[in-house]
């Protein structure tokens, strides 16, 4: 079992997926639209993408998402 706060790339991705896109979504007075940020894993390099976008493209074809930027 891997604890959520251990330092592992996949777990960081799981963590980001949860806190950027899950949990209670209440419009505060200052809402960060972090959903607009890009997150993609390419080998050891971590780039940010919205989980929404990733879901739309079925989390495949990451090359397409990269090229469109």
């Amino acid at each position: 079992m891997v604890s959520p706060t251990q330092s592992r790339d996949i777990t960081l991705l799981e963590l980001l997926d949860r806190i950027l896109d899950r949990g209670v979504i209440i419009a505060g007075d200052v809402t960060i639209s972090v959903a607009d940020v890009d997150l993609i894993f390419l080998g050891l390099k971590l780039i940010l993408t919205s989980v929404e976008t990733a879901e739309k493209i079925g989390l495949k074809g990451m090359e397409e998402a990269v090229e469109s930027h």
Binding site: A27, V30, T31, F41, G61
Partner: protein, 304 residues
């Protein structure tokens, strides 16, 4: 590569854009918790960057917050910060650490990153407006934790395991040795196609079977999109990505099911991964809160 917008939705006093380096403060919410009589305060525990954490109470619930500098979350600053792995490490992991700490002692409803209110009164207002939904959810979450299971399949290994056991696949093989080169080629091709088909079917069967098996020990379960190889960096395909809300009493059985399935299927090219316990991020019903905020501007993205 990094596109980023942070928006300040209009508050009741009218929209004001915070400036870089401005001293405007806000109240950052990590989660809402059950505030039973035993709760005093968060002795010594700190949030990200050593921030104080404390609870803003409303009846028997509380919002766990830190006072923050709005400038850290302002558009340009946020973009820079999100490019900074150290900032991510401390703020993102820090957000999670606070929730995990609170979760050790009581039921929590985790909030998405970046929910900030301008005043404590506004936080209390949010608690009041959503009190019944929050209370209901806290009751549901009591003594339960989220666990994530991912299963990966190495196609070559699966095919290898199947070809040893499958009659259908071995049938053509018996004829091949007695045929001409051309006929042999077609028979081999046929055998490969059958093997591919069986492997595809097997992966779907496995995914459904495992999803159900783990679900026997859960109060709620959820399927999430599969991650690509580019994302996981593995030489295998993800066939199951599921989360489960498991009662404390059933955790032991849930985890031993995980261990035995993992062992049982290692020879079939299957890899099992389990992470947890997580705060119940995946089991927060969104519509309940979205409707409570009718009338306020809600960005389409933030509704998930």
């Amino acid at each position: 590569m990094n596109r980023l917008r942070s928006s300040l939705s209009p508050d009741k006093l009218g929209a004001r854009k915070s400036k870089l380096g401005g001293a405007e403060k806000g109240f950052y919410i990590y989660c809402v918790m059950d505030r039973d009589k035993s709760f005093k305060k968060f002795d010594g525990k700190k949030g990200p960057r050593g921030r104080e954490i404390y609870a803003i109470p409303y009846k028997d619930v509380g919002a766990v917050v830190s006072k923050v500098d709005l400038s850290e979350f302002d558009g340009t600053a946020l973009e820079e910060n999100l490019n900074d792995m150290e900032w991510i490490e401390s703020n993102v992991r820090g957000h999670e650490k606070v929730i995990e700490e609170v979760m050790r002692h009581r039921a929590v409803i985790p909030f998405k990153f970046g929910t900030i209110f301008r005043t404590e009164a506004r936080v209390r207002e949010m608690l009041e407006e959503n009190y019944h939904d929050l209370k209901h959810l806290l009751c549901w979450f009591k003594d339960k934790r989220e666990w994530a299971v991912k299963v990966y399949c190495n196609l070559q290994e699966l095919k290898s395991a199947l070809s040893k056991s499958s009659v259908r696949i071995n049938e053509p093989g018996k004829e091949i040795s007695s045929k001409s080169a051309g006929a042999a080629y077609f028979l081999r091709k046929k055998a490969e196609d059958i093997l591919s088909e069986e492997a595809d079917q097997k992966m779907v069967e496995y995914a459904e079977k495992f999803y159900r098996q783990f679900g026997e020990y859960a109060e709620e379960c959820k399927l999430s999109p599969l991650w690509s190889r580019e994302t996981t960096g593995k030489d295998a395909d993800m066939i199951l990505n599921a989360t489960y809300l498991v009662e404390g009493e059933k955790e032991k059985d849930f985890l031993s099911t995980f261990q035995s399935l993992k062992r049982e299927h290692a020879a079939n090219g299957l890899e099992f991964e389990c992470t947890g316990p997580w705060p119940p991020y995946n089991f927060v019903p969104l519509p309940a809160f979205a409707k409570a905020m009718a009338g306020q501007s809600i960005r389409k993205d933030s509704n998930g």
